[in-house]
């Protein structure tokens, strides 16, 4: 204490008290004491020793020390503060409250700041309310059924954004309701995670839809002799072994007579024998490429789009070779990195002229021709017979003229344009279409 001026000394003491309180307030007490409320008390008059002796036995005091002014300062919980009175009286002490902290005081402070307290409460309430809203509805697993349709059905059952979660029914119940509402669905699962609802849909398997069938005829694709005709729909117009020209009606889509005429989809299988004439030129020497067995490898380091050769220097050069590249890029997960190894395998190749006899050349030519015929004639074609018409050897080549008899499907579809029943005579109608 400096005996300078009364006012000055008082303010010095106050400042020192404040500093002392701040130093002490680093840790005011444990959480139990915090809940009960902590009072920092200064004994401004009375016998400190007498007070301490009594108080320590009866009450819970902590952080007992002396303020710079020489006065005893201590902390006490709020309930103990009120039970302190007898001890104070016995010691003839007077006190001053320096600081109040802890839950009760904070609550009191809050109750004074009504708007702030209301804001805090409002924040908690609004956070809770917003988290009970459904914010997002997603549909998974749809292919045919548009997601909008499912969302619409879900909306009818009460699943939509900005809906209250507590107004939703039980998810298994909702799923069964939704499954009833949407046709073409075999299973619906509803998964609510927080504010997000995911509707998982399994569509029921449906048979593939066929393209719409309009009434039509089956007509001949080429000139042929019918070898087999089976009509599944419509009326057959030709019989087996009958010669047909390109465009003739094989199975008519117009059935019935007179008033009962009707256009239907002609369906069926018509096989016919078709002739194909081929001129084949087959060389008597063929070049055959073969590996000699010599090979060498070069490896490169790939950096971006540049390659740095790291191996296989000083290799002999082959006259003829084939190169087999092999690129390996470093990947991490689904990412391809711009680094990798590029290897080139160089194999020496030697071409040899292979001489064929006339018979071999002929056979090779025929084999090639047969494959070509079958490829052209479509699925299920069978070579019934082949006739060698002409054979000639010229300039190291064999020239052949061959006639193939192929059994193949000759039917193609043709829509019926001037749809019946207005056509009085179906026969005339179809013939009219054929007129060419």
């Amino acid at each position: 204490m400096k005996p300078i001026g009364g006012g000055k000394a008082a303010s010095d003491e106050q400042l020192a008290d404040k500093l002392h309180a701040e130093r002490m307030s680093l840790m005011k007490g444990n959480w139990l004491q915090y809940i009960r409320g902590i009072v920092t008390v200064k004994l401004i008059a009375g016998d400190a020793d007498v007070f301490l002796r009594d108080a320590v036995a009866e009450l819970e005091l902590w952080d007992i020390g002396y303020a710079p002014g020489g006065k005893l300062v201590f902390r006490v919980t709020v309930p103990d503060f009120f039970r302190m009175r007898p001890a104070l009286r016995r010691a003839g002490a007077r006190i001053r409250i320096m600081d109040r902290s802890g839950l009760p005081f904070q609550m009191a402070r809050l109750s004074r700041r009504k708007t702030f307290a209301a804001g805090m409460l409002g924040f908690i309430v609004s956070l809770y309310l917003l988290s009970t809203l459904v914010w997002d509805v997603q549909v998974e697993g749809t292919e045919r059924i548009p997601a909008d349709q499912i969302l619409q059905a879900a909306r009818a059952e009460g699943i939509y954004p900005y809906q209250w979660s507590f107004r939703l029914k039980d998810s298994s119940e909702l799923a069964s309701l939704l499954a009833q509402r949407i046709p073409g669905i075999s299973w619906v699962g509803i998964d609510k995670q927080g504010t997000k609802v995911t509707i998982t849909v399994v569509e029921s398997a449906k048979p593939e839809q066929l393209p719409p069938n309009t009434p039509r005829d089956l007509i001949a694709k080429t000139d042929a002799v019918v070898s087999r005709i089976v009509a599944e729909g419509g009326k057959p117009k030709v019989i087996r072994n009958e010669r047909v020209r390109k465009g003739d009606v094989l199975i008519s889509g117009i059935v019935g007579e007179g008033d009962r005429t009707q256009a239907v989809v002609a369906k069926g299988e018509v096989l016919g024998i078709v002739w194909h004439e081929y001129r084949i030129v087959s060389p008597m020497t063929t070049r055959v490429k073969g590996y000699t067995g010599l090979e060498q490898e070069r490896s490169y380091l790939l950096l971006g789009n540049r390659a740095l050769q790291i191996g296989g220097y000083g290799q002999p050069e082959y006259d003829q070779f084939e190169v087999m590249p092999d690129t390996r890029r470093l990947t991490i997960g689904g990412w391809t990195l711009p680094f990798g190894i590029y290897k080139e395998l160089e194999k020496e190749v030697q071409a040899e002229d292979h001489k064929l006899t006339e018979a071999e050349a002929k056979e090779a030519g025929l084999r090639q021709a047969r494959a070509e015929v079958l490829r052209k004639s479509g699925m299920g074609a069978v070579i019934k017979a082949e006739k060698l018409l002409h054979e000639q050897t010229e300039n190291g080549k064999v020239i052949l003229n061959v006639l193939f008899e192929v059994e193949q499907s000759i039917a193609v579809e043709r829509p019926i344009v001037n749809a019946v029943p207005s056509v009085p005579a179906p026969q005339a109608g179809t013939e009219g279409n054929d007129g060419r």
Binding site: D49, R53, V56, L61, W62, D63, I64, G65, G70
Partner: protein, 92 residues
Amino acid sequence: MPRVVRKLRNWTARILDLPQDVVLDLPRVTMIGGIQLTVENHRGVLHFAPTSLRLAMEKGELEVTGHELVIRNIGTDDVLVEGEITGVLIKR
């Protein structure tokens, strides 16, 4: 504590190899550096000043001297003192 009881306790402590403070209610002083000091088994505060703390013991008293002493915590039989501790003195 009556004399007979004390003698009996002393004997028990010796026979059973027990620490004296447990059996005889002697003060147990734990000091950490010169900054923190715990006294167990005290019998109350006799005097407290920034430079000294005198505690009553079962027999005699114990004085802690130092500067800016603060009783961090005090219970019915233990005290935690912090500050610049310079000495511990036992008077019988």
